[in-house]
C-alpha cells in the first residue's frame, strides 16, 4: 500500500515506544503532523535498516485510543479509577506543593524516585531528585538491584572497565572494518538475544556473527533456537552459573588451556584463583549444575583453545544468580585468563564514544556533575548504604529490598511519597503485594506514564502523560555511537520525560535556570561538549557519530598496552594494581565499607530456595519457576494493549516439559494454577520439550489491559503476574545481585470442576 507522507524524520530509538535500550536508526514518515509509518533506517550501521515488531507497531502505540493525553488528578479513592483532566501548570503546582510540604515535615529524603530499566529516564529523574534534595534514586521492586549493575560492578572491580562481546559495534564500518575479526566462538550465557536487545546490545548481532562463521556455546536451562544451532549446549540448573564458571576455570587452568603470556603479564591473583577453582572439581560441579562433566569439559576446551578471539555474551541471570557480583567475577575471570580482554572478536572494553554519557551513571560521574561534597551527602543518606558498602562505591541507586521495607516500617526514617517515571512497579516488582502495600501507604504518588496500568490505577494521585521517542528530543550515548533523538510530531499534551524533569527540577531549584536557561537544550549541549559538537551539529550530520579517533580511549583494541585506560597515562588497567585482579581487592574493599564482608575470590552460593537450601519447601513445591523469559513483541510489562503485538503472543502462558504435563494430566492450552506460599496465579499451559523437566518457564510483567482496571482487579495483575510468587529480601551479601527471579519454587495444580473460569483474555481492540 502506498503511504502518502510530507516528510521523513530520521531518529534514534530509546525508551517509550519500542520500550527497549534502543540504539536503532529509525525513519518516521509524517503526514499532516501525524506519524503514518515507521521503518528502520537502512543507512544506520547499528541495525542496517531492520526494525523490530515493536518499532514497526509504533503507530498503534502512539495513537492508541486509550493513551493518556493530558495531566490527570485523582478524584475519589485510590483504586476507583476516577481521574480529572488538569493543566500542566496545575499538575506541577500540585506536585510542588505536596513535595514541599513533605520536605518541611520529614525532609527531602522522604521521597523516593522510581525508574524501571536502563532507559532514558534515570537521567531526567535524578535531576528532579537531586534538585529537590532527595538521595533516593531507585529501581524500586528490582530485588537485589539485579539488572546489569552486578555485572558492571564486578567488571569495574576486576578489570577497571566494562566489556562486551565484540560484534564490531565499535566501528562505523562494522564487519568491514579491517581492524575487526569475528569471534571464533560466542558463548551465549543466560540470554536469548533472538528475543530482545538487552544491555545496549542489538540481539541480532549474534546472528550476524553466526552467519559469518562464529560458532556457539550456549549456557541456558532452556532449549531454544540458539541451543538448536549451538555446537555445545550446557543445560544447567537455574542459579548455578557460579559453580559452572568455577568448574570451567578449574578445567582450563588444570589442563593448561589458559593464555600464559597474558596471565603472567597482566593478571594478579592467578595462583589464588587456581587454588579456589580446585575446590570445584567437575564431578562436584556436575552434581550442582545438572550438566554432565564431559559436556563442561568439552565446552571449556572449545572456548579456551579458540582464544584469544572468542567472546562471552552474558545476560541478566548472572546478576540474578545468588551473590550475582561473584558469579559475574567468575565469568569475567574466564575471559581474562583466556586472553580475551579487548582483543578482536573477544570481550572488548566498552568505553562510550568521547566518554559522553547521557547522565551520571555511577558515583564517580555524579561527583563530576554535582561535586564531591554533594555526593558524600547523598551516599551517606541513600537507603541501604549503612548495610551495603557497594551502595556507597558504585551506582547511584538505593537498595530496593531495604527500601520497600522502609516504606512500610518508616524506619530508620520516614518515606512519604514517590515519583514513578515510566515504570510500573505494581505489575513488575518482585513480591508485587508488598510493593502495592508500600505504595498505598504513601501520602502522595506521582506517576508519569503513557497508558493506565496497575500502578496508575492503584496508587497514582497525579499522572503526567509521557511522550514516546517519536515525540521527543534527546540523545543516546551508550557505547557507540553518540546519537540524537529528534522529535517528529506531538501527540495530545504529552511531554518528553526530560522536559518534565527539567521543569520540576527548576521549580525545586531556581538556580538551575541560570545553569540551563534554555532547559534541556542547554543540558544536552553541555553533556555533548566532549564530542566538539552540539545537538544541532549532530542533527546536521545525520544524527550520529562513531568516535573513531585512532589512539583514543574509546577505540579498540589492546588499550591496556597503549596507556589510555588509566588516569595516570601508564599502560595497564584502571584497577588499583593496574592489572586484571582475578582476586579482587576492590570488590573486597567495596564490600568491607558496609557491615558485610566480601570474598575477593569467586565462590558458589546455593539459590535462596532450592532442593539443597530449603529441602522441606522443595518437597511441597518441587518445580523451579524461571521467570523473565523474553517475548519478542513485549518489553517487560509493556505492549499487552497493542493489537498487532498482542496477537502474536496473546496468552500469559507457562511453558512445561511434556513429562510434567503427563504427570499432572495437563493438556496444551488448558489453564493451570501456579502456586507457592506467597500466593497463586493462573497460566495457560504450553507444552514445550525444550523446557527442563524440573523447571517451568514464565514471562514476567503480565497484566490484561482488556479486563477491569479498577481495584481490586487491577487489569488482572494479581491473577496472571508471576511476581505474585517471587520474593524480595533474597539479595546477595553485597546488596547487588541475587533474588529468586530464576529460582522460585512452585507447584502446578490442575483446575478441577468448580474452579473459576479462565481469565477473559482477548486481543485488545477486537470485537
Amino acid at each position: 500500500m502506498r503511504m502518502e507522507y510530507d516528510r521523513i524524520v530520521n531518529t534514534t530509538t530509546w525508551s517509550a515506544g519500542p520500550g527497549c535500550h534502543g540504539g536503532c536508526g529509525a525513519k518516521l514518515y509524517v503526514k499532516d503532523g501525524r506519524v503514518v509509518k515507521v521503518e528502520g533506517d537502512e543507512n544506520h550501521p547499528w541495525n542496517f535498516g531492520r526494525g523490530c515488531s515493536r518499532l514497526l507497531a509504533m503507530t498503534q502505540y502512539m495513537y492508541h485510543p486509550e493513551r493518556i493525553l493530558w495531566p490527570l488528578k485523582r478524584v475519589g479513592p485510590r483504586g476507583d479509577g476516577n481521574f480529572a483532566r488538569i493543566s500542566w501548570d496545575e499538575a506541577y503546582d500540585l506536585i510542588e506543593e505536596n513535595f514541599n510540604k513533605i520536605k518541611e515535615n520529614y525532609g527531602a529524603k522522604a521521597v523516593i524516585f522510581i525508574q524501571g530499566t536502563g532507559r532514558d529516564i534515570g537521567g531526567p529523574m535524578s535531576l528532579v531528585a537531586y534538585n529537590y534534595g532527595s538521595p533516593n534514586w531507585s529501581q524500586l521492586g528490582l530485588g537485589g538491584q539485579a539488572c546489569y549493575g552486578p555485572r558492571l560492578g564486578a567488571m569495574s572491580c576486576i578489570q577497571g572497565d566494562t566489556s562486551v562481546a565484540d560484534c564490531s559495534q565499535f566501528f562505523e564500518k562494522r564487519f568491514d572494518d579491517p581492524r575487526y575479526r569475528l569471534p571464533n566462538y560466542i558463548v551465549v550465557w543466560g540470554q536469548d538475544p533472538t528475543r530482545g536487545c538487552p544491555d545496549g546490545f542489538y540481539g541480532n548481532w549474534i546472528i550476524d556473527c553466526m552467519k559469518r562463521g562464529s560458532k556457539l556455546i550456549v549456557v541456558d536451562p532452556r532449549q531454544n533456537f540458539l541451543t538448536s544451532r549451538a555446537e555445545h549446549h550446557l543445560q544447567l540448573r537455574p542459579g548455578t552459573d557460579g559453580a559452572l564458571a568455577l568448574g570451567m576455570l578449574g578445567a582450563i587452568i588444570e589442563n593448561g588451556w589458559y593464555n600464559k603470556e597474558f596471565v603472567e603479564k597482566w593478571c594478579l591473583g592467578f595462583e589464588e584463583l587456581a587454588e579456589r577453582a580446585r575446590e570445584y572439581p567437575l564431578d562436584r560441579v556436575a552434581s550442582i549444575t545438572w550438566v554432565p562433566k564431559e559436556q563442561i569439559l568439552a565446552a571449556a576446551k572449545a572456548y579456551a583453545l579458540a582464544s584469544p578471539g572468542s567472546a562471552i555474551q552474558w545476560g541478566l541471570p548472572i546478576d540474578q544468580a545468588p551473590d550475582g557480583v561473584i558469579v559475574a567475577q567468575a565469568i569475567n575471570d574466564l575471559w581474562a585468563i583466556t586472553g580475551n580482554i579487548d582483543v578482536p572478536g573477544g570481550n572488548v572494553i566498552a568505553r562510550n564514544a568521547y566518554h559522553v554519557s547521557a547522565y551520571p551513571f555511577d558515583n564517580y560521574q555524579l561527583a563530576d556533575m554535582y561535586g564531591d561534597d554533594f555526593v558524600e551527602q547523598v551516599v551517606q543518606k541513600r537507603i541501604g548504604s549503612d548495610e551495603y558498602g557497594w551502595l556507597r562505591k558504585w551506582r547511584c541507586y538505593i537498595q530496593p529490598d531495604v527500601a520497600v521495607r522502609q516504606m512500610l516500617t518508616q524506619n530508620p526514617y520516614p518515606i512519604k511519597a514517590t515519583w514513578i517515571q515510566t515504570a510500573n512497579p505494581v505489575a513488575n516488582a518482585a513480591d508485587m503485594r508488598l510493593h502495592y502495600e508500600a505504595l498505598r501507604a504513601m501520602d502522595f504518588n506521582v506517576v508519569i506514564d503513557l497508558f493506565h496500568n496497575p500502578t496508575t490505577m492503584s496508587v497514582a494521585d497525579v499522572i503526567l502523560p509521557a511522550a514516546t521517542f517519536a515525540e521527543r528530543t534527546g540523545f543516546r550515548a551508550w557505547f557507540q555511537p553518540v546519537q540524537i533523538i529528534s522529535p517528529a510530531v506531538n501527540v495530545g499534551e504529552c511531554r518528553n520525560d526530560w522536559e518534565i524533569a527539567m521543569d520540576m527540577a527548576q521549580r525545586f531549584n531556581p538556580e538551575l535556570k541560570k545553569r540551563y536557561p534554555n532547559g534541556i537544550k542547554d543540558y544536552m549541549d553541555w553533556r555533548l561538549e566532549p564530542t566538539g559538537m552540539t545537538y544541532a551539529d549532530l542533527q546536521a550530520r545525520g544524527g550520529w557519530k562513531w568516535g573513531d579517533e585512532e589512539g583514543s580511549a574509546w577505540v579498540p583494541y589492546k588499550r591496556y598496552e597503549r596507556g589510555v585506560l588509566r588516569a595516570d597515562g601508564k599502560p595497564g588497567f584502571r584497577t588499583p594494581s593496574g592489572k586484571v585482579e582475578l582476586k579482587s581487592s576492590q570488590n573486597a574493599e567495596w564490600g568491607a565499607t558496609g557491615v558485610t564482608r566480601v570474598d575477593p575470590l569467586p565462590y558458589y552460593q546455593e539459590p535462596f530456595e532450592s532442593e539443597m537450601s530449603t529441602p522441606d519447601l522443595f518437597k511441597k513445591y518441587p518445580l523451579i519457576m524461571v521467570t523473565g523469559r523474553r517475548s519478542a513483541v513485549f518489553f517487560h510489562s509493556e505492549h499487552r494493549n497493542i493489537p498487532w503485538l498482542r496477537e502474536c503472543d496473546p496468552h500469559p502462558d507457562v511453558e512445561i516439559h511434556p513429562s510434567v504435563a503427563r504427570d499432572l494430566k495437563l493438556e496444551n492450552g488448558e489453564w493451570v494454577w501456579i502456586e507457592n506460599e506467597r500466593g497463586r496465579i493462573r497460566r495457560k499451559v504450553k507444552i514445550n520439550a525444550g523446557i527442563h523437566p524440573k523447571t517451568v518457564s514464565v514471562l514476567h510483567g503480565w497484566w490484561l489491559p482488556e479486563t477491569e482496571g479498577r481495584a481490586p482487579n487491577l487489569f488482572s495483575a494479581w491473577d496472571v503476574n508471576c511476581n505474585v510468587l517471587v520474593p524480595t529480601g533474597a539479595q546477595s551479601r553485597t546488596g547487588y545481585g541475587g533474588n529468586a527471579y530464576k529460582t522460585t519454587l512452585v507447584r502446578l495444580v490442575k483446575m478441577h470442576d468448580g474452579s473459576p473460569a479462565a481469565p477473559p483474555v482477548s486481543v485488545w481492540g477486537r470485537g
Binding site: 509509518k37 521503518e39 533472538t194 541451543t227
Partner: protein, 113 residues
C-alpha cells in the same frame, strides 16, 4: 523481467515477528489478517534430549510481494524482507534465487502467481 519470489533461509529464522508486523503496517491489515505468518516447529529427536527449534514464515494469499511498494520506487524489496531481523529472507527473480538456494542447506522459495 522474470518472475519474482522470496527465498527464506530456514536455518536463520528466529521467529522474531518483525516480518509479520512490517507486513501489517505496509498493508494496513488489522487483527486476524496476515500477509505472512510465522510458525514454530519443535522437533524432539528420537533417543536424545536435544530438541530442535525451527521457525518458518508462511506467505498467505494476501502477499503480492509488496508490489506497490516496489513499483512506486519507495524501496527495492518487500517490507518483510527489509525488516527481517536476521536478514534470512532475500527478494529477487526466482531463477537467481534458485541458484542461491542450491548453496544453502535448508531453504524454501516462495513465489505468488
Amino acid at each position: 523481467m522474470g518472475k519474482k519470489g522470496i527465498l527464506v533461509d530456514m536455518h536463520y529464522c528466529t521467529g522474531c515477528h518483525a516480518c509479520e508486523i512490517a507486513c501489517k503496517q505496509e498493508n494496513g491489515f488489522g487483527v486476524g489478517n496476515w500477509g505472512i505468518r510465522i510458525n514454530e516447529i519443535i522437533t524432539e529427536k528420537p533417543n536424545s534430549d536435544r530438541v530442535h527449534f525451527d521457525y518458518l514464515p508462511y506467505f498467505t494469499l494476501q502477499c503480492n510481494l509488496c508490489a506497490e511498494r516496489i513499483a512506486s520506487g519507495e524501496d527495492t524489496k518487500p517490507s518483510c524482507v527489509k525488516h527481517c531481523g536476521t536478514a534470512c529472507m532475500q527478494y529477487g527473480e526466482i531463477e537467481d534465487l534458485a541458484k542461491e538456494m542450491a548453496a544453502k542447506p535448508r531453504a524454501i522459495l516462495y513465489s505468488p502467481l
